[in-house]
Amino acid sequence: MSSSRTRLTVVPTQRILVGRGLALLAALLIVAVTLAAMGRSPITLFGLVMHSTVGSRFGLEDLALFMTPLMLTGAAVWVGIRVNLWNIGAEGQFYAGATAATAVGLFTGLPPALAIPAMIVAGMAAGMAWIFVPAVARAWLGVSEIVTTLLLNFVASLLVYYLATGPWADRVTGALASTERLHVILPDIWGVVHWGFPLAVFTVVVLGVLLARSRFGYETAIAGANPEAARYAGISVAPRVLAVLLLSGGLAGLAGMVEVAGTVHRLQGGIANNYGYLGIVVALLARGSCLSLIPAALLMAFILDTGIVLQTTQISASAVLAITGLLVLAIAVGDELAAYARVKKTS
C-alpha cells in the first residue's frame, strides 16, 4: 500500500496545535543555525531573549503592552475575514481612533470617570467613520474594500503627523514631535500594564461569544459564505456588510484609543506602529476561532519583543522582519501538513 494519507477537509484543533508547535520549533532551529553562521551564539541570544520577554517582570509587562493593541486590531481584521471581507485599513482606523481619543483627552476637560468612556466612544466612532465610505461603497456598489481601506491608511498616517507636529503639537517642550501628555489616561494595573489589557481580552471574549450565539453572527456568516443563498433566505446582504465593516473599524479605533490613552499617552506620528497590518497576521493565525486571537496576539507580541531585544545586540532590524516572515511561513506550512492524516482501515 503506497499511500495511506488523505487530506482532511476539516482539521481537528489538536492536529493544528501539534503542527504549529513543530513549525515553531523548526523556525527557531533555522534562526539558531543562521545566527550561529553569523558567528553569534544562539544559546546566549536565546537566553537574552527569554530573559527579556517571559523570563522577567519587565519582559512580561512589555509583552502585555504589545499584546493589547494586537488583540484588538486582530479582532478588527478577524470579524471581516470571517465573512469574506478584508479590512486592510485597520492601521488607518487605529490612527483615527487615537486621534479622536486624544481630542477628548486634551480638549474637553471632563473628569476621568466621564472622560475615559467618552474616549472609548469617540475612538470607536472615529474608527467607524474612517471605514464608513469604503464600507458603503463595498456594501451597495461592490467596490473592493481592500483597495479603499488600504489607501485611507496613508491619509490617516499623514493627518496624524500633521496634527502632532502642527496645530496640536506640544508647545511646552518645544520638541514639536507630539502632542502634550493627555490629561486623562487609562490607569495602570500591574507595572506599566494598564486597563487596556483586560479590556482587550474582554472585548475578544465577548465578540467571540456574541458572534457564535447571536442571530447577527449567523446571518453574517451566511451572507459572507454565499450572498445568493442569503438573499434566497431573505437576509439582506448589504446592510450586514456595512455592519460588519463598521464593527471592524470600531475595533481598530478602540485599539488606537487604548494605545494612546494607556501606553503612549500622547498622540505622535507613527503611533500605529504597524499594529493595523500586524492585525492581519494575528487574524490569519487565529483562523476560524475568535478566542485564538489571544494566543496569536501573544505570539506576535513575542516576535516584536524579540526583534527589539535582538536589535539591542546589533542585529539588523531587517533580520527581525525576516524572522517574522519565517515564522508565518512555517506556521502556514504546519497548518497545511496538519491536514494530512494517516487513515486506518476500518471495516
Binding site: V10, A221, A225, A233, V343
Partner: protein, 527 residues
Amino acid sequence: MDEHERSEGAPRPLNLAPGTPPVLTLSGICKYFPGVIANEDVSLDVFPGQIHALLGENGAGKSTLMNVVTGLYQPDGGEIIVDGYGVTFAAPDAAIAAGIGMVHQHFKLVSRFTVAENLHLGWSETPRRLSARQIEANARTLSEKFGLAIRPEAVVGTLSAGEQQRVEILRVLSRGARLLILDEPTAVLSPVEVGELFIALRRFRDGGGAVIIISHKLDEIMALTDRVSVLRHGRLVGTHLTASTTPALLVAEMIGRPVTLATSYPRGNEVPVTPSPLVLEEVTARDDGGIIRLEGVTLSLRAGEILGVAGVTGNGQPELAEVLTGLRAPDQGSVALDGVAVKQADPAVFARAGVGHVPEDRLRRALAPSLSVAENAVLREYAQAPIGGRFGFSIVRAREFAQLLADKVGVKLPGAMMPIRGLSGGNQQRLVLEREIRIASRVLVASYPSRGLDIGAIAAMREMLAKARDAGVAVVLMSEDLDEIFALSDRVAVLCAGRLMAVIDRCDADRDRIGALMSGRTQAEAA
C-alpha cells in the same frame, strides 16, 4: 473480504476480439474519508470500444472512484492498471497524458474566453504564435473529427449547458483521450441535447474509444451502454452486460431491494376549496441581463394541488420560479400572495407566508457550501425557537435540528459540523427538500427536484411532494421528465419561449398534446 464479485468473474463484452486487453483495470481500489468508506475493494475492467456505465445510489462512491482514476485523489489501497501497466497519477494532468480524460458535472471552462480559446488553453499542441482565425479553424477541424458541433468564435459564458459540455468533451478528446469519463453528464441537458451527446459518444466508441458514464437514468443506461457496474456503499456489487440485465434487476442491486416509481399518486383526501394562495396576473419578467424571459403569464395556484410545469429547459422556468418565490420582481403585471398584491419582491415575505423553494441550482442558491450541515439545515428556521429568536442563535440546537432533518430523509451524517459540500449531491438535495417542505405551509416551488437523485431517492421525493399536496400545499413542480409530471400533476402548465401555452387538467393531457405545446404550437393547433 467475502465472496463478492471480482473483475475476473465479470462477463467480457460479447463483440470483443479475443485477447483484447482492457484499457483500464481497477484492482481492489480503496478510498477513505474520515468516518466514511467512499470506496472499498473495487475491481473492474473497462475495454476499448465499449461504453461502461457506473450506477449507484447517491453517495455510493461513484464520483470518488472516478476522481481516483483521474488522479484528483490518491487511492488508499489497490491498483490502477492502464494498458497492462500499474500507474499512479499524481494529478489530473498525468491521467490526461495516459489518455484518461474526465468531464465533471461542474464545467471548468473560462467563461470570458471563446470556445476556440478554451480548447487551446493549456495544451502542448497549441501553436506558439496564435491568431484567432487559426485556432478557430483548428477548432472547426476538431469539431468535425469528433462529430461535436460547436461555434468556435462564441464566448463560452453565452453558451447553454449542453454547448459548454460539448466544448469540455472536445477539449478532453483533442488531448488524445482514449478513455472518456463523464460524471452525470445528462443531468443538465435537455432531451434533444442528450440525443446529440449519445450520438457523439457512440461515434467515439465505434472508433475504438472507451467511455465510463455515470447516470441515474436507467433508460439512458439501457439505450447507450454495453456494460454496467453497480456500486453500493462504496463496494462493487456486480458488473453485467447491459443486454443481459434489466432496469429492475439493476435497481434491486443498487438499492438492495426492488424499487419502482409509481405512475400515479392518488390523493388521500378531497381537494379543499380555498382561495388561491398565489396568483400571477399578466406577469412579464426579465433575466439579469435584461432579456424578457416571461411574457404575459397568468397563473393561479390551487391549494392541495400539484401543478406540473412542462417545457424545454431554458424557456422561462427559472424566472417563473423566482417570481413565484419573491426572488424576482415582475416587470409588468402583478403577484398576489394570499389575495394581497405584493408590492416589492422580497423572499423573506414569501418565506414567512409559507412559500418554500427548492431551486434548480442548490449549491449556488440554496446552500452555503463552505458552512456546516447544521448551519445550512436551519437556513429557514434559524430565527425561530428553539434554534434562535430575535437576537439569539444556538449552534447546539442547530446541530440537533440538522440531525433530525437528516434522520427524517435517511441521510447518514458523519457529523453535523462538517461542511455541507462534503455531502454527495443527492444528499444535499434531500436535505434541502425536507427543509423547504417544513416551511412550505402554503406553496412549494420545486425546480427539477429529481436532478442528481438516485431512483430510491426520487421515489421518496415524490412521496414527499404528494404528502405536501395532501396537506393542502399548492405544489409547483418543474421537470424535464414528462413521466414525472404525468405521475404527480393535477394540472399541467406548458411554457414555451416565456409564454404560458396552456394549463390543462391532467385527465385531458396526453404526451402528444403536451409535446406539441412545448414546441410552440398553440392550444387550438395542438388539440
